[in-house]
Symmetry: C2
DNA sequence: GAAAACTGTGTCCAGCGGACACTGTTTGCT
DNA sequence: AGCAAACAGTGTCCGCTGGACACAGTTTTC
């Protein structure tokens, strides 16, 4: 195993501390992660630098390296710190209700910490809380005739959808924000080139709330899963 | 409209050139974008810097700023340059076949240029080719009883799935790569904490190819859309 | 009491995106 | 024909980044 991956695993999964000899550390991984989250929440992941985080804690940036091997690991800790515990399945909830609640809760997490979208692109080591999300969705699908890989694929499908929606709703942003402006830019561009993009232009001209995207995709996915499950259980 | 957004729109959508008075430019936006793509293909988006791209063209980095206002715009050009034209719908293909081909082709694009995943996170201005992808998917769903917003939501749903799959298959990576190692790390972690993640552990222990993820999600989504379309058309 | 182990600091470096002043070239206008 | 405006590419400079390293101060163990 590579050094970096090993370090990250130890940080995320390893024992919380070990008594040592020298002076007592003035900081904790939790405080450092929280400071990073604070910066990212306020100004985005791009504003997170060692300097910035250390300054928020009234320390020098190099002192952070006593706790964290590098910036990548810091961000991994921030992710693990910002991610919620997934919702516990309600008593008597069937798989569909469980997955629906799961998706809504995950979308809320992304809404609370939009930088999670940036922090979770690319291959990386996942932490315990993040893995618990996967556990819940796979568990909800247990015993309905799906194979192991199929249950994992279903999880990827759901997570991908929530991610896509979160990305889209971040692109909307609060009114007056630079993000919101991009929507009017898109609108202008599409209207100006309506001949090249007639279907998009027509679809965008249609009235109707645009805030149903999460539910829309969710219902389609769940319908598709239900069809498969019904086929499998009937066949057995 | 903000300056930055305006500049990007002009670069991506504006007229290709305008005759001027001074010396003739030695470079073109196309060559610059191609150089950027070359670097990103070889070493990832992180390796793309003004210095690097300029060096590949045997120019100084500052000369690039004569063509491109900043790095963000360079990356926008790279995206537009790397993205394929979406497949033209085959004659007589129904909506389901069209969307299926669309998704497979998009996944192939991500596989060819994995850095596109990094370059397309966050709010940004989309280019003509990128918008053509949206056009195709919305057009394929025309005339099946879906509202405009629903057609757009379906597009987001499909794109989100393909993205999720591309992310996952990048995390796998070629054998021996640092990415592939992360899979064994995940495997180890899950096995070591099998008591906390029994469902995931069981699902991962199940045999079976893991390369069906794209098709699996795609079929579920298309089944879900088919159910909605059938409901709508029957009702009319 | 001495040595070992550890924390936090200061200094240094290469690389980044970008501002700006500058030289040299090409063009259109008078 | 000549000149001035407009433009291309270069070199220098700045602030910031992540990180290496040596060092001083503190605490524990032998």
């Amino acid at each position: 195993m590579s050094e970096a991956a090993n370090d990250t695993v130890r940080l995320l999964w390893g024992p919380p501390a070990k008594p040592t000899r020298g002076p007592k550390p003035a900081l904790t991984l939790e405080r450092i992660a929280a400071a990073g989250v604070e910066v990212a929440d306020a100004e985005g992941l791009g504003a997170v630098s060692m300097q910035r985080v250390a300054g928020l804690l009234d320390f020098t940036k190099m002192s952070l390296y006593r706790y964290v091997p590098g910036k990548a690991e810091l961000i991994a800790l921030m992710v693990e710190s910002a991610v919620d515990e997934p919702p516990r399945p309600a008593d008597g909830a069937d798989w569909r209700e469980q997955l629906s609640a799961w998706a809504v809760h995950l979308a809320a997490t992304f809404a609370r910490h939009p930088w999670l979208l940036d922090a979770t692109v690319g291959p990386r080591v996942v932490g315990p809380k993040e893995l618990t999300w996967l556990e819940r969705v796979v568990a909800a699908l247990d015993g309905h005739g799906l194979t192991g890989p199929e249950r994992m694929d279903a999880a990827v499908l759901l997570a991908g959808h929530v991610r896509g929606i979160a990305e889209q709703s971040r692109a909307a942003g609060p009114a007056g924000s630079p993000e919101a402006e991009l929507l009017t830019v898109l609108d202008t561009v599409v209207r100006r080139h309506a001949d090249r993009y007639p279907a998009v232009a027509a679809a965008m001209a249609d009235p109707g709330g645009r805030d149903q995207a999460l539910d829309f995709g969710l219902e389609r996915i769940l319908d598709g899963l239900a069809a498969l499950i019904e086929r499998r259980t009937r066949q057995t």
